[in-house]
Amino acid sequence: MLNLFKPRPTSYAVRLSDTETTFTVKRGESLLSSALSAGIKWPFKCKVGSCGTCKCKLIDGKIKAQLDFGYVLDMSEIQDGYILACQSILKSDIQVSVNLTK
């Protein structure tokens, strides 16, 4: 109950496990748009959650999915922690793994 009155962070930190790169994501912004703003060459195509190009693996932390990932990702991918960066809003600091060479 008291958590309701705790001030929420205005941004969260993201660490890319493969490159040790870090950047911040403002509350309410998507992981993809913040990564692109930070100059990271994150693969993407549609930005609306339909192509799957921006998928990455959530290693640690919490996100809130804006659309159902089940249309684009397989069940096994979802169970393995894969998420769509363009449809992910952060709920904590996170660590992700993404293939930036796609």
Binding site: S30, K45, K47, V48, S50, Q66, G70, V72, M75, I89
Partner: protein, 372 residues
């Protein structure tokens, strides 16, 4: 500046309320929604040469207030529900043979009962303004979960809840390609497109659900099938109109749905007619912009298709002119042309020729040549 930027997108909410008031007042006022549509066509045509860029402050931040714009879009759901309720109320009066007489409420006189002719006016008004709900259904389909659900409900009022999924997972991905039902190939007219696009998107939405459920090991006939659920969201409208007027009620609701879906498909038709995309990412050249001032404000920038399809995550008030293919006139004016296919064909040809020459890639030119 903030007030100006946010208030200019209130034309549809304001006019929707006028259309509702017209049906409630009754008599020839039931036609107000139709008259407004005509008036808008005139304004749009007269202002076709005014094109304004999006407004940003000196730091590059938009003047749009997200909380306000979202509140308006969410509030449009009850507005469209009320639009159906007032039409049902008039149908009930007509079928129960309520005598036509004048009464007053808070000093405003209105007509109790309705003639058949004015009921047609009320039905046409409802259809046209329900159809304009598309602009909110569309914008909310691209945003957070809550917005996505409201989008589904708004579209369900027009029997088109499948649109929300088909738009995101089909149209945005396959734009300009034959796999996208919403992209009209060269030579198709708006009437054929309205049917083919509607059915194609619904079929896509069904197959999308079937595939999603099969990944979970479930059958397509499942309570979580969102294609089925979408049509179930339309059930309250059907029950309301059957109750209000039996067969006449069903005919009126069917008319509203046909008009609303025709407008939805007209927007798809105008947004991408004849454009071609081969493999690769969607680029500005794969959409037509319609960004004359009245179209921009009225349709909450849905006419900035070139920017929207490249930055699908961007709020409508931040979309801008990206110097993509542009018809040069607004949606209302172009819509009138599309209704007369030979006229539209003659008008659009020079724009297609220009697209082939200036925008198309070499692969796209090869496909374009097959159409000519």
């Amino acid at each position: 500046m903030k007030f100006y930027v946010n208030a200019r997108y209130l034309i549809v909410p304001f006019m929707s309320l006028i259309a509702i008031a017209g049906i409630l007042i009754g008599g020839s006022f039931a036609w107000v929604g139709v008259a407004l549509f005509g008036l808008n066509t005139i304004i749009d045509t007269l202002t076709k040469n005014i094109h304004l860029p999006a407004d940003f402050d000196e730091t590059g931040e938009s003047y749009g207030i997200k909380g306000f714009q979202y509140a308006v879009m969410f509030l449009m759901l009850p507005v469209f529900i009320v639009l159906q309720l007032v039409l049902a109320y008039r149908i009930f009066q007509y079928t129960s043979l309520t005598p036509i007489e004048t009464a007053a409420f808070l000093g405003v006189s209105y007509e109790v009962g309705t003639s058949g002719l004015n009921l047609i006016g009320a039905t046409l008004s409802s259809g046209l303004w329900a159809g304009l709900g598309i602009i909110y259904g569309h914008e909310l389909s691209h945003n957070k979960k809550e917005g996505f659900f409201v989008s589904r409900l708004i579209m369900a009022l027009s029997g088109a809840s499948h649109f929300t999924y088909a738009h995101v997972y089909n149209h945005h991905l396959d734009l300009g390609h034959e796999d996208d039902a919403a992209t009209a190939p060269r030579g198709r007219n708006i009437y054929a497109h309205a049917w083919l696009s509607h059915m194609g998107q619904s079929r896509f939405s069904y197959n999308l659900e079937k595939e999603r459920l099969s990944k979970r090991g479930s059958s397509a006939l499942h309570f979580d099938n969102r294609w089925i659920l979408g049509y179930l969201y339309s059930l309250p409208s059907i029950v309301l109109f059957v109750w209000a007027g039996g067969l006449i009620g069903v005919a009126a609701l069917f008319s509203v749905w046909v008009i609303a879906n025709f407008l939805l498909e007209a927007l798809n038709f105008m947004g991408h007619y004849g454009l071609i995309r081969t493999e690769g990412a969607v680029e500005h050249r794969h959409s037509w912009d319609n960004d004359s001032v009245f179209t921009s404000w009225f349709f909450i920038e849905i006419g900035r298709q070139c920017d929207h399809h490249v930055r699908g995550e961007t709020y409508f008030w931040e979309l801008d002119d990206v110097e993509g293919p542009n018809y040069g006139i607004g949606y209302f004016s172009l819509f009138v042309l599309t209704l007369i296919p030979p006229l539209f064909k003659a008008y659009v040809q020079k724009h297609l020729d220009n697209w082939d020459e200036k925008y198309a890639s070499s692969e796209e030119k090869v496909i374009a040549a097959q159409f000519s």
